[in-house]
């Protein structure tokens, strides 16, 4: 009996041993070669289409140069007011570094777009007037001539011709995006000058204003959209 049990145990051990060693000794080699070629082309284009426009951009510049001579006193006052209004249908889009040039009464420039963009006018060139020249970017008007009983030069009482004014205007919006925008501008420039001759006082004033009605075409949505709260 004991021998039988012993032999049975030996057999069991042998089987177990075979399973263990057998499993380990069995080797299986599978070679799989797989070649995959996946060509994926994906292009994403940022949206550069959209509507840009501008809304109510108003800018004004006032330049008041004055000069006073000792005796008699000659005072020249030049007031330049530039008002740019950019309006449009939509509230999107913007303009980067656009330059609008006004020559006479027509202004054609690159667009102004952007609902909340700020247009800044500058570089108003000189306007000729009664006494001397109003230089660009200057708040000082120099009246040529010497003091005397009257202001030298002409104390011209005629209205200043606005056509003589070269107005270079740079419009910069506060957003910088690249747009293909076109704006048509209507500029209205009006000037007036009054001079009091032989009164030792010369007063010159010039007023110019420009209005830009811009409605840009497609552009990036660089400006902010109208936002609504759901409260």
């Amino acid at each position: 009996m004991n021998r039988k049990l012993g032999s049975t145990a030996v057999m069991v051990l042998a089987v177990v041993a075979m399973m263990m060693f057998g499993c380990r000794s069995t080797s299986s080699t599978t070679t799989k070669t797989s070649t995959e070629t996946a060509a994926t082309t994906e292009s994403t284009s940022a949206s550069t289409y959209g509507n840009t426009s501008a809304v109510d951009t108003t800018q004004s510049t006032t330049t008041t140069p004055s000069m006073t001579s000792a005796t008699p006193t000659t005072t020249t006052t030049t007031t330049t007011t530039n008002t740019n209004t950019t309006t449009g249908l939509d509230t999107t889009g913007s303009t980067s570094g656009t330059t609008a040039t006004t020559n006479g009464t027509n202004q054609y420039g690159t667009p102004s777009a952007g609902s909340s963009g700020t247009t800044t006018g500058s570089n108003f060139a000189a306007g000729t007037g009664a006494t001397g020249t109003v230089p660009a970017n200057s708040s000082t008007t120099t009246v040529s001539g010497t003091s005397g009983t009257s202001a030298s030069g002409s104390t011209d009482t005629t209205a200043m011709s606005q056509s003589a004014i070269n107005q270079n205007q740079n419009n910069n919006t506060s957003y910088n995006t690249n747009n293909n925008n076109t704006t048509s501008n209507n500029n209205t420039v009006s000037g007036s000058m009054s001079t009091t001759p032989n009164n030792n006082t010369s007063t010159e004033s010039m007023t110019s204003s420009s209005t830009t009605n811009g409605n840009a075409g497609e552009g990036t949505h660089g400006t902010r959209h109208h936002r609504m709260r759901k409260d």
């Binding site: 959209g50 409605n215 759901k230």
Partner: protein
């Protein structure tokens, strides 16, 4: 023993991951992603309710062109009727998920209104009433994109709104207040109400179709034509809707709990604008894949426009 602990740890980690991914699961269920969807099928099975004063002219045409069902009215009764009729007469595009682009009235009631004028058309509904009324129509998910939506779930107003909450935004309900019946049991409703994870002030942006790529505009115009609609020009889109469509990881949604505290939190404007850009790119991407051969016949340079000043009317 060590093996058991390892298995237990794995199970715990998996459950934690699932909890973190609750928003994704909710979105996947409410707005299943279809990689083969065309642009005109983006909103398949989804309805959007707009309060008129947070919409723009022709807004629904835009969403219907994208496959959404769109409802815009200041009277909740008419909106609910329209949803029912839609699901009856459009079995191919039954609304299963409803997105509410409405006011939350500081969490005092879901409000639709024509304007803030005291006598303007205006109505309110409770969350419970929505569940009760929408369940028979087959709606299964209601996603609330309204301010302080967490407060709408307060037990005190869940079924019946307080008509005098003492809130200045709670204007006269000229078109009524809809409440749930007294025996309504929300726990037995098959309609799941989903709100943002945090209660805050929701916002929408007004966009213009011209901001989309030509191919996108063409597909939208074609879809509108197929639905016998005029091509849309403008649209209003909420941050939450954009986040859902974009599967934005910042979006968190929840289906449980309520909030008592009134929140004044609002996302920065830049965040909305960033989402909007992504949304436009998303639409353009879909359109480009759908119609890769599309080319603009004429130069892309826009024509000079000399239109007179027109204020951006957004209503």
């Amino acid at each position: 023993m060590i093996r058991r602990l390892a298995v237990l740890a794995l199970l715990l980690a998996a459950s934690a991951a699932m909890a973190d991914d609750a928003t994704s699961i909710l979105i996947a269920r409410a707005m299943p992603y279809n990689p083969y969807a065309r642009l005109s099928e983006i909103g398949h099975g989804v309805g959007i309710v707009f309060t008129p004063d947070l919409s723009v002219p022709g807004n629904c045409r835009f969403y219907e062109s994208l496959g959404f069902a769109c409802f815009e009215d200041a009277d909740w009764s008419r909106v609910l009727d329209d949803i029912r009729l839609h699901n009856i007469f459009h079995p191919e595009n039954r609304v299963r998920t409803l997105i509410l682009e409405t006011h939350g009235t500081n969490g005092n009631g879901l409000k639709l209104q024509r304007s803030y004028a005291p006598t303007a058309d205006r109505s309110y509904i409770s969350v419970g009433a929505l569940q009760e009324r929408l369940e028979p129509d087959g709606i299964r998910y209601v996603l609330i994109s309204a301010c302080n939506s967490g407060r709408l779930l307060r037990p005190a107003i869940y079924r019946t709104l307080d008509p005098n909450p003492g809130d200045k935004l709670f204007l006269a309900p000229t078109c009524g207040i809809i409440s749930a019946s007294a025996d309504f049991d929300a726990s037995r409703s098959r309609v799941t109400v989903v709100t943002p994870g945090t209660s805050h002030i929701e916002t929408s942006l007004a966009g213009n179709v011209r901001e989309l790529a030509p191919v996108t505009r063409k597909l939208i115009a074609d879809s509108a034509k197929a639905h016998a609609l005029r091509a849309p020009v403008q649209f209003a889109v909420s941050d939450m809707l954009m986040e859902m469509l974009l599967r934005d990881p910042r979006l968190t949604l929840t289906t449980s709990g309520y909030v008592d505290e009134l929140s004044k939190d609002i996302a920065p404007v830049d965040s909305s604008e960033s989402l909007y850009k992504s949304f436009v790119a998303y639409l353009n991407g879909m359109a480009g894949r759908e119609l890769p051969s599309f080319k603009v016949a004429t130069a892309t340079k826009p024509k000079l426009r000399t239109a007179k000043k027109t204020s951006p009317t957004v209503r």
